[in-house]
Symmetry: C2
Amino acid sequence: MVRESEIREGELAVEMPPARDGGLVFIGRIRTPWTSRLQAPRQGRHDGPVCRLEIFEPWVPALKGVDFYSNLEVIYWLHLSRRDLVLQSPKNNKSTRGTFSLRSPVRPNPIGTALATLVERRGSTLLVRGLDCLDGTPLIDLKPDRCLFTPLAPPRLPP
Amino acid sequence: MVRESEIREGELAVEMPPARDGGLVFIGRIRTPWTSRLQAPRQGRHDGPVCRLEIFEPWVPALKGVDFYSNLEVIYWLHLSRRDLVLQSPKNNKSTRGTFSLRSPVRPNPIGTALATLVERRGSTLLVRGLDCLDGTPLIDLKPDRCLFTPLAPPRLPP
């Protein structure tokens, strides 16, 4: 069931504390084919449509070497989500689960993570597959997939 | 090589824009054996030491059902990291890579992600293995590992 922002039976909302423990800067914007939550898939697929990660200045030089990796971890901000639910009812049937046992976009810090397949870099834009987010979603980080990445610096000796 | 906060030869710093596009609330604190960056491992290991995720109120009810999952995605805030480097030299040898092609803690939004193995839940605390972060690191989200999680709501029909 797709939620706009209503609370369902059995769900629990808390008073949301001020969200100023840490501040984010949007490093780019994600362009996808989905303009409404009614259309977006629940999880990305590696054979899904090509989406675009448009990187903003001054961060474009930080893309150097990114095309070395076939898979990237994409971290984004689910800007339309409410943040105050601790118990949620995904099936809207009164049965609830805790927010931290779900990958729902509704969470105290609405951060989404996805593993995307890199198709091509074009200047300040990356073409990728595997996303499920709405068109216009703010981008907050990109990292090589941890399974592919080996630290470049030498390992530290045990203390 | 371990960085405190110096800039190395060949690295490129930019003027950091104000970080107020999105605001975070710390949902808990991570307790690990590592109190200095000289000791912390570069990547977590699933046979590494047991660490604790201490969840703060009002978020404790959001843990309901979390012990159903053997692996959790842990998202945290690398509170000691500088944020303004776009080119970095992991080996400190003048050769640089873009920040988005590294998993370095130094990044515009210093968000770390790890896949941890859940050992046990004890009230508002989760015992996990697989982390590499410093003791006291602020926690910002917990999700079931995407590989284990199947959405509970029915799939959407293609538009």
